[in-house]
Protein backbone atom coordinates (compact mmCIF):
# COMPACT_ATOMS: atom_id res chain seq x y z
CA UNK A 1 0.00 0.00 0.00
CA UNK A 2 2.85 2.36 0.86
CA UNK A 3 4.45 1.94 -2.53
CA UNK A 4 1.30 3.22 -4.19
CA UNK A 5 1.09 6.10 -1.75
CA UNK A 6 4.50 7.30 -2.77
CA UNK A 7 4.17 6.51 -6.44
CA UNK A 8 2.53 9.83 -7.23
CA UNK A 9 4.27 12.00 -9.74
CA UNK A 10 4.65 14.74 -7.19
CA UNK A 11 8.23 15.95 -7.34
CA UNK A 12 8.28 16.98 -3.69
CA UNK A 13 10.50 15.20 -1.21
CA UNK A 14 9.56 11.78 0.05
CA UNK A 15 6.84 11.83 2.70
CA UNK A 16 5.11 14.92 1.33
CA UNK A 17 2.39 13.46 -0.80
CA UNK A 18 0.39 15.22 -3.49
CA UNK A 19 -2.00 17.80 -2.12
CA UNK A 20 -5.22 18.66 -3.87
CA UNK A 21 -8.19 21.04 -3.74
CA UNK A 22 -10.70 19.27 -1.43
CA UNK A 23 -13.59 20.53 -3.54
CA UNK A 24 -12.42 18.35 -6.46
CA UNK A 25 -13.34 14.97 -4.94
CA UNK A 26 -16.66 16.32 -3.68
CA UNK A 27 -17.50 17.61 -7.16
CA UNK A 28 -16.57 14.19 -8.52
CA UNK A 29 -18.75 12.56 -5.84
CA UNK A 30 -21.71 14.66 -7.01
CA UNK A 31 -21.28 13.56 -10.64
CA UNK A 32 -20.80 9.93 -9.53
CA UNK A 33 -24.04 10.21 -7.53
CA UNK A 34 -25.96 11.31 -10.62
CA UNK A 35 -24.35 8.67 -12.87
CA UNK A 36 -24.97 5.88 -10.35
CA UNK A 37 -28.55 6.98 -9.71
CA UNK A 38 -29.32 6.82 -13.45
CA UNK A 39 -27.47 3.49 -13.67
CA UNK A 40 -29.61 2.08 -10.86
CA UNK A 41 -32.84 3.29 -12.45
CA UNK A 42 -31.77 1.90 -15.82
CA UNK A 43 -30.37 -1.34 -14.39
CA UNK A 44 -30.93 -4.34 -16.65
CA UNK A 45 -30.92 -2.18 -19.78
CA UNK A 46 -27.98 -1.45 -22.13
CA UNK A 47 -27.88 2.14 -20.79
CA UNK A 48 -27.52 0.85 -17.23
CA UNK A 49 -24.75 -1.53 -18.27
CA UNK A 50 -22.94 1.24 -20.18
CA UNK A 51 -23.10 3.61 -17.20
CA UNK A 52 -21.79 0.89 -14.86
CA UNK A 53 -18.93 0.19 -17.27
CA UNK A 54 -18.15 3.90 -17.56
CA UNK A 55 -18.21 4.48 -13.78
CA UNK A 56 -16.00 1.41 -13.24
CA UNK A 57 -13.49 2.99 -15.62
CA UNK A 58 -13.73 6.34 -13.80
CA UNK A 59 -13.09 4.83 -10.35
CA UNK A 60 -10.40 2.55 -11.77
CA UNK A 61 -8.52 5.50 -13.25
CA UNK A 62 -8.85 7.44 -9.97
CA UNK A 63 -7.61 4.51 -7.90
CA UNK A 64 -4.84 3.13 -10.10
CA UNK A 65 -3.71 6.03 -12.30
CA UNK A 66 -4.30 8.76 -9.71
CA UNK A 67 -6.77 11.57 -9.16
CA UNK A 68 -5.14 13.66 -11.91
CA UNK A 69 -6.23 11.03 -14.44
CA UNK A 70 -9.78 10.72 -13.08
CA UNK A 71 -12.24 12.13 -15.67
CA UNK A 72 -14.37 14.09 -13.17
CA UNK A 73 -11.20 15.49 -11.61
CA UNK A 74 -10.06 16.64 -15.06
CA UNK A 75 -13.49 18.23 -15.56
CA UNK A 76 -13.16 20.02 -12.22
CA UNK A 77 -9.66 21.32 -12.91
CA UNK A 78 -10.50 22.42 -16.47
CA UNK A 79 -13.91 24.05 -16.09
CA UNK A 80 -14.82 24.51 -12.42
CA UNK A 81 -11.74 25.31 -10.40
CA UNK A 82 -10.61 28.29 -12.61
CA UNK A 83 -13.94 29.98 -11.81
CA UNK A 84 -13.71 29.42 -8.06
CA UNK A 85 -11.65 31.34 -5.50
CA UNK A 86 -8.47 29.56 -4.41
CA UNK A 87 -9.16 26.79 -1.88
CA UNK A 88 -8.77 27.78 1.78
CA UNK A 89 -6.71 24.67 2.35
CA UNK A 90 -5.33 21.79 0.34
CA UNK A 91 -5.80 18.20 1.45
CA UNK A 92 -3.81 15.02 1.19
CA UNK A 93 -4.75 13.07 -1.93
CA UNK A 94 -4.38 9.64 -0.30
CA UNK A 95 -7.83 9.47 1.41
CA UNK A 96 -9.86 10.47 -1.68
CA UNK A 97 -7.74 8.14 -3.81
CA UNK A 98 -8.49 5.32 -1.41
CA UNK A 99 -12.19 6.23 -1.71
CA UNK A 100 -11.86 5.74 -5.49
CA UNK A 101 -10.51 2.25 -4.83
CA UNK A 102 -13.51 1.42 -2.63
CA UNK A 103 -15.84 2.75 -5.32
CA UNK A 104 -13.99 0.66 -7.89
CA UNK A 105 -14.49 -2.48 -5.77
CA UNK A 106 -18.28 -1.94 -5.67
CA UNK A 107 -18.43 -1.14 -9.38
CA UNK A 108 -16.26 -4.11 -10.36
CA UNK A 109 -18.74 -6.40 -8.58
CA UNK A 110 -21.62 -4.61 -10.32
CA UNK A 111 -19.99 -4.89 -13.76
CA UNK A 112 -19.10 -8.54 -13.27
CA UNK A 113 -22.68 -9.30 -12.18
CA UNK A 114 -24.04 -7.55 -15.27
CA UNK A 115 -21.75 -9.63 -17.47
CA UNK A 116 -22.79 -12.83 -15.64
CA UNK A 117 -26.46 -11.87 -15.88
CA UNK A 118 -27.27 -11.24 -12.21
CA UNK A 119 -29.26 -8.00 -12.16
CA UNK A 120 -30.03 -8.23 -8.44
CA UNK A 121 -26.42 -8.44 -7.23
CA UNK A 122 -25.48 -5.75 -9.70
CA UNK A 123 -28.25 -3.49 -8.33
CA UNK A 124 -27.13 -4.07 -4.73
CA UNK A 125 -23.52 -3.19 -5.55
CA UNK A 126 -24.56 -0.04 -7.43
CA UNK A 127 -26.86 0.94 -4.53
CA UNK A 128 -23.94 0.74 -2.08
CA UNK A 129 -21.73 2.76 -4.41
CA UNK A 130 -24.51 5.32 -4.81
CA UNK A 131 -24.89 5.68 -1.04
CA UNK A 132 -21.13 6.10 -0.60
CA UNK A 133 -20.82 8.65 -3.43
CA UNK A 134 -23.76 10.64 -2.06
CA UNK A 135 -22.33 10.65 1.48
CA UNK A 136 -19.04 11.84 0.03
CA UNK A 137 -20.64 14.67 -1.95
CA UNK A 138 -23.23 15.80 0.60
CA UNK A 139 -21.51 15.20 3.93
CA UNK A 140 -17.82 14.95 3.00
CA UNK A 141 -17.99 11.46 4.52
CA UNK A 142 -15.31 9.13 3.16
CA UNK A 143 -16.64 5.58 3.59
CA UNK A 144 -13.35 3.92 2.65
CA UNK A 145 -11.42 6.07 5.12
CA UNK A 146 -13.86 5.29 7.93
CA UNK A 147 -13.74 1.53 7.49
CA UNK A 148 -10.01 1.40 6.71
CA UNK A 149 -8.90 0.85 10.31
CA UNK A 150 -11.66 -1.72 10.96
CA UNK A 151 -10.52 -3.70 7.93
CA UNK A 152 -6.90 -3.45 9.11
CA UNK A 153 -7.94 -4.63 12.56
CA UNK A 154 -9.83 -7.62 11.20
CA UNK A 155 -6.84 -8.69 9.14
CA UNK A 156 -4.75 -11.17 11.11
CA UNK A 157 -1.82 -9.58 12.87
CA UNK A 158 1.46 -10.79 11.45
Amino acid sequence: MDSYLFSMTDSAVLCTRARIDPRGPRFGGAISTVVLAIALIAIGTPLGAALIAWQTLVFGLGAFAGLRAQPYGILFRTFISPRLPAPAELEDSAPPRFAQLVGFAFLAVALLSVLLGSVLISAIAVAFALGAAFLNAAFNFCLGCEVFLLVKRLARSS
Binding site: P22, L130, C145, F148, L150, R153
Partner: protein, 144 residues
Amino acid sequence: MTGVLVVLAVLILATVFGLWFRANNGRMRTADVHTAGADEHGGEILDAQAIGVVLGSRATLVQFSSAFCQPCRATRQILDQVSGMIDGVVHVDIDAEANLDLVRALDIRRTPTVVILDDAGRIRKRASGLPRKADVIAALGELE
Protein backbone atom coordinates in the same frame (compact mmCIF):
# COMPACT_ATOMS: atom_id res chain seq x y z
CA MET B 1 -40.44 2.77 -11.34
CA THR B 2 -38.92 0.32 -8.86
CA GLY B 3 -35.49 1.76 -9.75
CA VAL B 4 -36.59 5.28 -8.87
CA LEU B 5 -37.94 4.09 -5.50
CA VAL B 6 -34.70 2.21 -4.77
CA VAL B 7 -32.66 5.33 -5.61
CA LEU B 8 -34.86 7.45 -3.32
CA ALA B 9 -34.58 4.88 -0.52
CA VAL B 10 -30.78 4.83 -0.81
CA LEU B 11 -30.57 8.63 -0.77
CA ILE B 12 -32.92 8.95 2.22
CA LEU B 13 -31.05 6.27 4.20
CA ALA B 14 -27.73 7.92 3.38
CA THR B 15 -29.07 11.32 4.45
CA VAL B 16 -30.31 9.97 7.78
CA PHE B 17 -26.95 8.31 8.35
CA GLY B 18 -25.08 11.47 7.29
CA LEU B 19 -27.05 13.66 9.70
CA TRP B 20 -26.53 11.18 12.53
CA PHE B 21 -22.84 11.04 11.73
CA ARG B 22 -22.52 14.81 11.64
CA ALA B 23 -24.28 15.15 15.00
CA ASN B 24 -22.07 12.59 16.76
CA ASN B 25 -18.75 12.99 15.00
CA GLY B 26 -15.97 14.20 17.29
CA ARG B 27 -18.16 14.33 20.38
CA MET B 28 -16.17 13.95 23.58
CA ARG B 29 -17.43 11.12 25.75
CA THR B 30 -16.55 10.02 29.25
CA ALA B 31 -14.68 6.73 29.01
CA ASP B 32 -16.57 3.54 29.70
CA VAL B 33 -16.13 2.45 33.32
CA HIS B 34 -16.77 -1.19 32.57
CA THR B 35 -13.50 -1.87 30.80
CA ALA B 36 -11.18 -4.50 32.19
CA GLY B 37 -8.84 -3.18 34.86
CA ALA B 38 -11.10 -0.24 35.64
CA ASP B 39 -10.71 1.61 38.90
CA GLU B 40 -13.05 4.11 40.56
CA HIS B 41 -12.33 6.68 37.84
CA GLY B 42 -12.97 4.09 35.15
CA GLY B 43 -11.06 3.15 32.09
CA GLU B 44 -7.79 1.46 31.33
CA ILE B 45 -4.38 2.78 32.22
CA LEU B 46 -1.75 3.62 29.64
CA ASP B 47 1.87 4.21 30.60
CA ALA B 48 4.75 5.94 28.85
CA GLN B 49 5.85 2.66 27.32
CA ALA B 50 2.47 2.04 25.70
CA ILE B 51 2.25 5.43 24.02
CA GLY B 52 5.92 6.23 23.51
CA VAL B 53 6.09 9.55 25.37
CA VAL B 54 6.33 10.63 29.00
CA LEU B 55 2.85 11.37 30.33
CA GLY B 56 1.86 15.00 30.84
CA SER B 57 1.79 16.11 34.49
CA ARG B 58 -1.79 17.20 34.01
CA ALA B 59 -3.10 15.24 31.03
CA THR B 60 -2.02 13.47 27.84
CA LEU B 61 -3.90 13.81 24.54
CA VAL B 62 -3.41 10.56 22.64
CA GLN B 63 -4.40 10.81 18.97
CA PHE B 64 -4.70 7.77 16.71
CA SER B 65 -4.15 8.57 13.03
CA SER B 66 -3.87 6.68 9.75
CA ALA B 67 -2.83 7.37 6.19
CA PHE B 68 -6.38 7.45 4.82
CA CYS B 69 -7.74 10.07 7.13
CA GLN B 70 -8.91 13.50 6.07
CA PRO B 71 -9.52 15.05 9.51
CA CYS B 72 -6.32 13.75 11.15
CA ARG B 73 -4.29 16.82 10.20
CA ALA B 74 -6.89 19.26 11.54
CA THR B 75 -7.14 17.18 14.72
CA ARG B 76 -3.36 17.35 15.11
CA GLN B 77 -3.44 21.13 14.79
CA ILE B 78 -6.19 21.50 17.40
CA LEU B 79 -4.48 19.20 19.90
CA ASP B 80 -1.13 20.92 19.32
CA GLN B 81 -2.75 24.26 20.07
CA VAL B 82 -4.37 22.95 23.24
CA SER B 83 -1.20 21.29 24.51
CA GLY B 84 0.74 24.48 23.78
CA MET B 85 -1.82 26.56 25.61
CA ILE B 86 -2.27 24.55 28.81
CA ASP B 87 0.69 23.67 31.01
CA GLY B 88 1.24 19.99 31.76
CA VAL B 89 -0.72 18.79 28.73
CA VAL B 90 1.17 16.60 26.26
CA HIS B 91 -0.01 15.61 22.78
CA VAL B 92 1.10 12.40 21.07
CA ASP B 93 0.07 11.22 17.61
CA ILE B 94 0.11 7.43 17.17
CA ASP B 95 0.03 5.66 13.80
CA ALA B 96 -2.90 3.28 14.26
CA GLU B 97 -1.71 0.90 11.52
CA ALA B 98 1.66 0.44 13.18
CA ASN B 99 0.11 -0.14 16.61
CA LEU B 100 -2.73 -2.52 15.89
CA ASP B 101 -2.38 -4.35 19.22
CA LEU B 102 -3.00 -1.12 21.10
CA VAL B 103 -5.80 -0.23 18.67
CA ARG B 104 -7.49 -3.58 19.37
CA ALA B 105 -6.94 -3.34 23.12
CA LEU B 106 -8.60 0.08 23.24
CA ASP B 107 -11.23 -0.91 20.66
CA ILE B 108 -10.39 2.00 18.37
CA ARG B 109 -12.45 1.76 15.21
CA ARG B 110 -11.90 4.99 13.34
CA THR B 111 -9.27 7.61 12.81
CA PRO B 112 -8.89 10.13 14.22
CA THR B 113 -9.76 8.86 17.69
CA VAL B 114 -8.57 10.94 20.61
CA VAL B 115 -8.29 9.55 24.12
CA ILE B 116 -7.49 11.82 27.04
CA LEU B 117 -5.41 10.40 29.88
CA ASP B 118 -5.25 11.98 33.30
CA ASP B 119 -2.00 12.49 35.23
CA ALA B 120 -1.96 8.80 36.22
CA GLY B 121 -2.48 7.59 32.64
CA ARG B 122 -6.08 6.57 33.16
CA ILE B 123 -8.29 6.86 30.08
CA ARG B 124 -10.93 9.39 31.06
CA LYS B 125 -12.30 10.84 27.83
CA ARG B 126 -12.62 9.70 24.27
CA ALA B 127 -13.75 11.16 20.94
CA SER B 128 -13.96 9.65 17.45
CA GLY B 129 -13.71 12.07 14.54
CA LEU B 130 -12.50 15.67 14.50
CA PRO B 131 -13.09 17.06 18.01
CA ARG B 132 -13.93 20.71 18.67
CA LYS B 133 -11.24 22.67 20.45
CA ALA B 134 -13.67 23.93 23.09
CA ASP B 135 -14.75 20.34 23.84
CA VAL B 136 -11.14 19.25 24.33
CA ILE B 137 -10.49 22.14 26.72
CA ALA B 138 -13.74 21.43 28.57
CA ALA B 139 -12.84 17.74 28.86
CA LEU B 140 -9.46 18.67 30.34
CA GLY B 141 -11.27 20.84 32.89
CA GLU B 142 -13.40 17.87 33.95
CA LEU B 143 -10.37 15.72 34.79
CA GLU B 144 -9.77 17.23 38.23
